[in-house]
């Protein structure tokens, strides 16, 4: 199931909230979360839910062994076993097709290419359980004694499908003992509605535009159209992914969990290094803490470490070489910045950093978007006006005008005006009733967003029958 879905909003979620809050008994509450999470996952993936259960079960035991035999060979073996099993599963389900295909392409053989359907969220939950076992092994957190509590951590539906990658040690306390306050609940609602609106009202529309311009016959695409298409994708992927993280954080908050932020307005960064501290933070910090630093970080063979980390970061995003290319591209930028470029940027006016980063990111999304490298090549030629394609098209002119207000809103939405406004509001001298006004207005705003999202979700199902097919 997904969050931006009418069944989720009006059947699953209210049932979940009501059953959760019906008693204060923590075992009941944990049980409710587990059952709803399993149902949530099985709705779209009725078979591979077994894989999730398997993964959670083995790592529960790995964690217990790591703790019980801390410092002995058994702990090492448990860690190795966890890594092999988790990465093995990921390898089989996600990368085997790509590997065999590439092997065939290089050797000229034609081995049968395995075609597994990718179990939803496998990249996220395997990383969560890996981080848990490593942290226990390192003694950074205690192993969870209760199987069910550990299972709840792995299967929690808010982050199960698309992150953030929540580390066990960050939520350990809340798993064992959590309080849910009204404040949590209300903030959770706001966060969830905001995320839903980002996904449904901005990302989905941007996605329609992106595919109109990027999926069609590239022979018809103009340079302006190419820029518009890739900018729309830039907007889509940010609002989609950060919206999803917002919804995850908000939902978890409803039930008393506090997740780390996953996005911090990445498009206002002034360097690739900064971008990756603001974009998908839970993934970047995963690779930093579990790959880059253990390999020696910036103390030994730093550039080799960077190469490995960015290769893996790219590969994690999908089983296709263009993702690797995309990862390496960012690796190169980061290395360049570390080497000298950062110092140069520091000396220049800030605007240069912004322009450089936005340009680099947008080109990066082109690498990310086109899984077919020859199509990518054609697209980049059009983008830079060297393909002989037209520069401007009248259709784009109309599309820009037809969607002008929405475009402005989408661009402004990438900027941190909400925290700015909140800070300003906080500084103001306010009368007594301002607090009530604030909460009333907040709730009304959330309901308005919810209504618009519901209308748009219903609109997606609108599918007029053309009784005369051409």
């Amino acid at each position: 199931m997904v969050f931006s879905n009418l069944i989720f909003l009006y059947l699953f979620l209210p049932a979940n909230i009501l059953l959760y809050y019906i008693t204060r008994n923590p075992a009941w509450r944990n049980g409710v979360l587990i059952l709803f999470s399993l149902f949530f996952y099985a709705w779209g993936e009725p078979v591979w839910v077994t894989l999730l259960i398997f993964s959670a079960t083995i790592d529960y035991f790995h964690g217990r062994i790591c703790e019980a035999y801390a410092g002995r060979w058994q702990a090492k073996a448990a860690l190795a076993s966890s890594l092999i099993l988790n990465l093995g599963l990921l390898g089989i389900f996600k990368y085997s097709g790509m590997l065999v295909e590439s092997f065939n392409a290089v050797t000229g053989l034609s081995l049968p290419v395995p075609a597994f359907s990718l179990p939803i969220g496998i990249s996220f939950y395997t990383f969560q359980t890996i981080s848990y076992v490593i942290d226990v092994y390192r003694g950074q957190t205690e192993a969870q004694r209760s199987y069910w509590r550990f299972f709840m951590y792995v299967s929690m539906y808010p982050q199960l499908v698309a992150g953030p990658i929540v580390r066990y040690k960050d939520v350990a306390e809340q798993i064992d003992q959590r309080q849910t306050t009204r404040q949590d609940f209300v903030q959770g609602i706001s966060r969830f509605c905001t995320g839903l609106a980002k996904k449904v009202l901005i990302a989905n529309l941007a996605g329609d535009f992106a595919s109109q311009y990027l999926d069609g016959d590239l022979g018809m695409l103009t340079t302006a159209g190419a820029w518009f298409g890739i900018l729309m994708y830039t907007i889509q992927i940010y609002f989609d992914f950060s919206g999803y993280s917002d919804m995850a954080i908000g939902l978890a908050r409803l039930f008393g969990f506090h997740y780390m932020e996953n996005f911090q307005y990445p498009y206002i960064s002034r360097s690739a290094t900064e971008f990756w501290r603001r974009w998908h933070i839970s993934l970047g910090s995963f690779f930093r803490d579990y790959v880059y630093i253990p390999m020696g970080g910036n103390r030994k063979h730093q550039y080799w470490n960077l190469l490995v980390v960015w290769f893996l970061t790219g590969l994690w995003h999908g089983a296709s070489w263009n993702f690797v290319l995309w990862g390496m591209y960012f690796g190169l930028l980061v290395a360049m910045e570390k080497c000298f470029f950062h110092r140069v940027l520091e000396k220049l006016p800030r605007v240069f950093g912004h322009v450089y980063l936005l340009f680099a990111v947008v080109i990066g999304w082109a690498l990310f978007y086109f899984t077919d490298l020859s199509r990518l090549g054609t697209f980049l030629q059009i983008l830079f006006g060297v393909s002989g394609a037209g520069l401007w098209d009248v259709q784009l002119e109309v599309v820009l005008a037809n969607n002008l207000f929405w475009l402005v809103a989408a661009v402004v939405g990438c900027l941190p005006w909400v925290p700015m406004a909140k800070r300003l509001w906080g500084k103001l001298q306010k009368p007594q009733w301002a607090g009530a006004l604030e909460s009333g207005a907040g709730m009304a705003w959330n309901l308005v967003l919810l209504f618009f999202c519901t209308a748009f979700l219903a609109g997606q199902s609108y599918n007029p029958f053309l009784y005369f097919r051409f």
């Binding site: 049932a15 016959d217 199509r375 309901l447 051409f470």
Partner: protein
């Protein structure tokens, strides 16, 4: 980080009243309860289609994931106040910006180029078919959330091939932008030539490809957005064998573009548009056409809002609106029909369905599409014609009534037996292929001309229980409301296609 949060928690809930929790949960819960308890509609008037039905739960459907998917579709299709929510969202979309030059453009090159078909070689410039969703093999962000909701829409556009280049709205008139490709046009022409080879000079073969509204009514600045249908038609005619006559409907229509030849809100031509094509055909076939001013009983159905309106729900289009004009000649005529999956029985039918209204206006002509309609006229001149067509043909066929004793109207999409046999058995004199430029250049149609040539009827495979229930309920509805006939037929046809 951690200790700070704890402090926050212990702080009394300043300014936070429980009413917010209650309101939010109540809104979700009540809507949810309504969605379960309210009566579920089965048909959408607005969309003219059957809504998704409640799927039957079984272990199999649960474990292959189809139950979840179908329940999603059912739930979204029957959500409370759905019609209101849908038009609200289209109005919001309409107001996301400004209408520039009185123009609005919807959709674009996103729809797949053609219904996939192995027998027609895809032209080199057509993009790689339905391109894989860029994110579909990577799980983090964009991918899965999309799939469930958009898949049904995708199927639909796949089949239609109508607005593959988008819908262009100018001052309230909607037009489908043309993007057809030449190599399909050649297959289309070759498949027509094959009929000439079979019959030689014993049957006169005509082909008439008619332009659509985008060809004449796009403002000059935007004409480059739609490929030239004139060039497309000429290229098709260039591929016709010497014994096949290409009928120049284009010029006849072009001379009258200040008249009401195409609908504002529908992708069809009007009866009047079809009339001018008929004069061109009369010239090619060697008979004298009737005069539109004097020779017909002209009737009108008011307040027609067609397919382009249904797709866009554009407010200017709704304001502009349409009416359906139809022209009844003096010559008597009676009709019979061959229904889907009853290829050897004829039932009574009508040439005009004058009771239609609202979105069904175009169904006045022949009462919609059927595998085969036979019209017998009061003109006992012994002449007969087969017209092979899609829906554009419906407005055209009635004009032939004064000139032929028997008219066999074959829909290239639904016809289930052999066209060659039909022509032989009835000793037909003339054979006319009539298509609009879009369908002449769509692989699905081009291939159908070949498919129906020596087609042998195969009864539908026995369906599992659940869908039989569905079919019988459909059949009931058919009886209650004959207007929906054409729609039902096509529904059935779609199922067939999915299977093959």
């Amino acid at each position: 980080m951690q200790p700070k949060q704890k402090k926050e928690k212990r702080r009394p809930d300043k300014g936070m009243a429980p009413w917010q929790m209650v309101v939010f949960t109540a809104v979700l819960t009540l809507t949810g309860v309504c969605s379960l308890l309210m009566e579920k509609p089965t048909v959408s008037e607005m969309e003219q289609r059957q809504l998704a039905a409640m799927p039957q739960a079984s272990w199999k459907s649960w474990f292959d994931g189809s139950f979840g998917k179908e329940y999603d579709a059912f739930y979204a299709d029957t959500f409370p106040l759905r019609d209101f929510l849908v038009s609200f969202s289209s109005q919001v979309k309409e107001n996301l910006g400004l209408r520039y030059d009185d123009v609005r453009i919807l959709g674009g090159a996103d729809a797949p180029v053609d219904s996939p078909d192995p027998t027609v070689s895809q032209p080199e410039d057509s993009n790689s078919g339905p391109q894989q969703d860029p994110a579909s093999d990577q799980d983090p962000t964009v991918s899965q959330p999309e799939q469930s909701s958009s898949s049904s829409q995708q199927d639909q556009t796949d089949d239609i091939g109508v607005n593959k280049s988008g819908i262009f709205i100018y001052k309230g008139m909607g037009m489908s932008l043309f993007g057809g490709n030449e190599s399909v046009g050649k297959v289309y022409a070759d498949n027509i030539n094959a009929y000439h080879e079979v019959f030689g000079d014993s049957v006169r073969v005509f082909d008439m490809v008619v332009p659509t509204s985008a060809e004449f009514y796009l403002p000059e600045k935007y004409q480059s957005l739609s490929r030239s249908e004139k060039d497309a038609i000429e290229s098709i005619y260039g591929h016709l064998a010497s014994g096949v006559t290409g009928v120049d409907a284009y010029s006849a229509i072009q001379q009258h573009t200040d008249e009401y030849l195409y609908f504002n809100t529908d992708h069809h031509w009007t009866g009047r548009g079809a009339y001018y094509a008929y004069t061109a055909f009369a010239q090619a076939a060697g008979f004298e056409p009737l005069d539109i001013e004097t020779d017909y009983d002209v009737r009108v159905i008011e307040d027609f809002l067609g397919s382009l309106y249904r797709q866009t729900q554009d407010s200017q289009m709704r304001e502009k609106g349409d009416y359906v004009e139809y022209f009844i000649p003096d010559t008597e005529a009676s009709a019979s029909i061959v229904l889907q999956d009853q290829p050897y029985t004829k039932s009574k039918w009508m040439v005009w369905e004058e009771g239609v209204s609202g979105g069904n206006g175009y169904l006045v002509f022949l009462c919609g599409d059927a595998p085969m309609i036979q019209i017998d006229t009061g003109n006992h001149n012994g002449k007969s014609i087969v017209v092979v067509k899609e829906s554009y043909g419906n407005a055209f066929v009635p004009f032939l009534i004064p000139h032929y004793e028997h008219i066999y109207v074959v829909d290239e999409r639904y016809f289930q037996t052999s066209l060659v046999s039909l022509i032989r058995e009835n000793q037909v004199d003339d054979l006319l292929f009539l298509n609009n430029a879009f369908s002449a250049m769509t692989a699905y149609h081009a291939n159908n001309l070949k498919k129906i040539m020596y087609q042998v009827y195969t009864p539908p495979v026995q369906q599992p229980q659940e869908s039989q229930v569905e079919q019988s309920s459909q059949a009931q509805e058919e009886q209650e409301d004959p207007k929906w006939q054409g729609i039902q037929d096509e529904d059935a046809d779609q199922d067939d296609e999915d299977e093959s």
